[in-house]
């Protein structure tokens, strides 16, 4: 065997285990999902081609429509808040607290990130209890009326958004902070010599220099919000009514409750994939910094 063939052979040997796993559990499944989405298929009945019927059905399925609406509200609430909070905290820490205090703050804000959504949901459900929860206790303390956080369709989705923001800020903070640390010190020093205020530095240097990081964080935030399941499932189970139903919850309920409508659930999954691909394409097409030659 020549050296070249030998090297190629070795290369394939190294990548083959992960290639097989990706092929079986990631690549083939995408095509399977695509195929099933055009079939009527349950665990008790073999797939039968039905054309676009599943997709048509979605248009009138109140659960799917509610999920899409909830997902958009969820995205519009969580993404701006978590991004702006993370950016402000990161910039503020980098400007004023590059010391033990700043480190402590960053560490503390990261704790919700590592905790499981199920545990967080369980704890927040207690804090958001209408009669005895801490949040209403605080509201009462300030003379306000308590809120039925999780039990009313008016507030339930917002309550879940609050927990999600709380859980995500620490993660994005770390990314932003690393981004700020990567900005050349010279820029800030030059600005200081020119007499710029800290606010001007933030507005005219930090924000523009962090653009690529912001695109990444916004894209990730949007994609995550399309995938919400755990918090909703644990805190409200989708209710009250359909007020906190999400797309993933629809997939789960259709496929794994009752007879298991695998075909219909696959169609919902394909819609989810379509949303995510669109977000990725928009990011790649319009926002990705051009590669330097």
């Amino acid at each position: 065997m020549s050296r070249k063939t030998r090297e190629a052979f070795e290369g394939y040997v190294y990548i083959i285990p992960s290639f097989i796993i990706l092929l079986i559990f990631y690549i083939i499944p995408i095509f399977m999902s695509g195929y099933y989405s055009f079939t009527s298929y349950s665990l008790v009945k073999a797939p039968r081609f039905v054309g676009l019927r599943n997709y048509m059905k979605m248009l009138t399925d109140s659960y799917v429509l509610a999920a899409i609406k909830n997902t958009f509200i969820y995205t519009l609430v969580t993404v701006p808040f978590q991004t702006i909070l993370a950016l402000l905290f990161a910039a503020f820490l980098a400007m004023r607290f590059r010391n033990w205090f700043g480190e402590m703050i960053r560490s503390a804000m990261f704790i919700p990130v590592i905790a499981s959504a199920v545990a967080c949901g369980a704890v927040w459900a207690v804090l958001m209890d209408t009669d005895n929860g801490l949040l209403n206790f605080i509201l009462h303390f300030f003379g306000a009326k308590g809120i039925n956080w999780l039990g009313s369709s008016q507030y339930a989705l917002i309550s879940i958004c609050i927990v999600a923001i709380w859980k995500n800020v620490g993660y994005f903070l770390v990314i932003y902070y690393a981004g700020i640390m990567g900005i050349s010190r010279d820029l800030f020093e030059a600005a200081e010599i020119d007499g710029a205020s800290k606010w001007q530095e933030f507005r005219l240097i930090t924000i523009p220099m962090l653009k690529p990081v912001t695109y990444l964080i916004v894209t990730l935030g949007i994609i995550w919000s399309f995938q919400v399941f755990d918090l909703s499932y644990v805190m409200t189970g989708g209710g009250p009514g359909k007020s906190t139903v999400t797309l993933v919850m629809d997939i789960y309920n259709q496929a794994f409750k009752g007879n298991g409508k695998m075909g219909y659930a696959s169609a919902i999954a394909m819609v989810l994939l379509l949303f995510i691909v669109i977000v990725n394409l928009i990011e790649n097409r319009f926002f990705k910094p051009k590669e330097e030659v």
Binding site: E7, G11, Y12, I30, I111, V118, Q227, D230, I251, I276
Partner: protein, 278 residues
């Protein structure tokens, strides 16, 4: 002079507001977990935390939680699945990364792009086919089914980034000395990869430990449940028994938390390095 002073004052007010906002948010990040632990130690069945309720008697919550619903078994399952996931993800990702970074073969670039493309596809989209595939291979309710999906292109991407910066000469030298291929990988490449493998281990552990949807779907026998699934069942069943549920939540939380406290620096560096979640 005057404007400068005003400027300064403004900016101090901003600093004070910033510090207050930050401290409030920080407290809100920690307090729920303190509340969780303290409430788990009370014997009263109320969401209100009264300090006089905290007593050793509250430890009975832990006793009952560990006894209930296969909780102890699911704790064991979660630990075992997490350890296996970390082990296999490290080995398999490191192998692929090494292959992609250091070996020339036809299709290298194409296959790597294909790997990266799979990162765009979320697990929720492949949930149903993965379930059906595993069902047809009789893999449901096995440990393998619970950890194999964590092995994805993210690990390969992460390790390859690092592998690219390892100079080829280091490996070539060993080759010239007649070191066999597998020994070059195990004895030279792997030790060099240690920092990135620590990051990957942390990612893998936290993700698999906290994963919920897949174990919910892939496990139908109660003795194969993982902690997150059991916790959600407990919460649904014992809605009013707060101390009891908080004890379960505390046990679920404490493992990643201890890992985080011990490897804090690597956690943060790993995320800053990749900027992507697995």
């Amino acid at each position: 002079m005057r404007t400068k002073m005003m400027h300064r004052k403004n900016f101090n007010v901003l600093t004070v507001i910033g510090v207050i906002a930050m401290v409030i948010f920080t407290i809100s990040c920690i307090y729920p977990f303190i509340y969780m632990v303290l409430l788990s130690l009370t014997s009263s069945n109320t969401a209100v935390l009264r300090l006089q309720d905290i007593s050793l008697k509250g430890l009975s919550n832990y006793y009952y939680v560990l006894k209930s619903r296969n909780f102890l078994r699911s704790l064991f399952n979660s630990v075992l699945v997490s350890v296996l996931a970390c082990f296999f993800n490290n080995i398999i990702s490191a192998m692929a990364a090494y292959g992609f970074a250091k070996k020339r073969f036809p299709g290298n670039r194409f296959l790597f792009s294909l790997f990266m493309l799979t990162l765009m596809v979320p697990g929720q989209v492949t949930l149903i086919p993965d379930f059906l595939i595993m069902r047809s291979f009789n893999m449901l309710n096995t440990y393998l089914s619970l950890y194999i999906l964590i092995i994805n292109a993210f690990g390969v991407f992460l390790v390859k980034q690092f592998m690219d910066s390892v100079p080829d000469e280091l490996l070539e030298a060993a080759k010239v000395d007649g070191c066999p291929e597998h020994k070059i990988f195990i004895q030279i490449a792997l030790p060099l990869l240690k920092p990135v493998l620590v990051s990957l281990t942390i990612f893998t552990f936290v993700n698999i430990w906290n994963s919920f949807l897949w174990p919910l779907v892939a496990v139908t026998k109660s003795d194969m449940y993982t902690l997150t699934v059991v916790l959600s069942l407990l919460k649904a069943q014992y809605t009013a028994n707060y101390g009891f549920i908080m004890a379960g939540a505390t046990v679920t939380f404490v493992f990643p938390f201890i890992l985080y406290i011990t490897l804090q620096k690597q956690f943060v560096e790993g995320i800053a390095l990749s900027g992507v979640k697995g």
